[in-house]
């Protein structure tokens, strides 16, 4: 089973409100990623976990937080959503060779 599951599939949020997105995988992969995807742009890496170690990108360091309480589960947290956060959020997991993505969460901030 190469399934990566993301919840919810669609999320509507108000400006200034928090958003929490959830991802899970059962492949026992050591690495889990979060990407932001906007139309006609490359997926943008926000952060990733290698085991329990969190790696965050410099330009998104303060905008996104994450937790990984166990190997299978990873969340992405936005403390205060802005209009610019509207995008598809993709979670992926990896065994260092193959990388599998979930179906994504489409976040709309109004």
């Amino acid at each position: 089973d190469t399934t990566v599951k993301q919840n919810p599939r669609y999320k509507l949020a108000r400006v200034g409100k928090p958003v929490n997105l959830i991802c899970s995988q059962t492949m026992n992969h050591d690495t889990m990623y979060w990407y932001q995807k906007k139309p006609n742009q490359a997926p943008k890496l926000l952060l990733f976990y290698y085991d329990k170690i969190l790696n965050r990108e410099a330009d998104t360091f303060e905008k996104f937080q994450s937790s990984r309480p166990n190997n299978s589960f990873c969340s992405l947290y936005i403390g205060s959503a802005g209009l610019e956060y509207s995008a598809m959020y993709l979670c992926a997991s990896s065994n260092r060779r193959e990388v599998f993505f979930g179906k994504g969460t489409r976040l709309t901030v109004v």
Partner: protein, 119 residues
């Protein structure tokens, strides 16, 4: 500087062979190049990967790659193309990352190539 570069768009006729090009920059000894197709829903579907240690070009069903390691170039080849193959294809580079004292592999995407396959 762009680490992963792809051409913007290309086209093909049904049943033809399609080649999508990707070039990348890395100084790592071990790395992996992966190819994805993005569906209209936004979902990223994994197609094939090639590691820098692989001496032979990888193949997965109608997908294969042409890996030119010394040129830091890799092409995705789709055989017997069909209209359903139309979509955006992404090339991604997976290489070790040591940001913030962490470890693991960072996955960096190109901007994608829009493929149109005409019946």
């Amino acid at each position: 500087a762009q680490k992963v570069t792809q051409v913007q768009s290309t086209g093909s006729s049904q049943w033809g062979e399609v080649t999508l090009h990707c070039s990348y920059e890395t100084s790592e000894y071990f790395y992996v190049i992966l190819w994805y197709k993005q569906l209209f829903s936004g979902e990223m579907v994994f197609l094939i990967y090639q590691t820098s240690f692989d001496t032979q070009n990888q193949r997965n069903s109608r997908y294969s790659v042409v890996f030119q390691k010394s040129l830091k170039s890799i092409s995705l080849v789709i055989s017997a193309s069909q209209p359903e193959d139309s979509g955006t294809y992404f090339c991604a580079l997976s290489e070790p990352s040591m940001n913030y004292g962490g470890s693991g592999n960072k996955l960096i995407f190109g901007t994608g190539t829009l493929l149109s396959v005409k019946p």
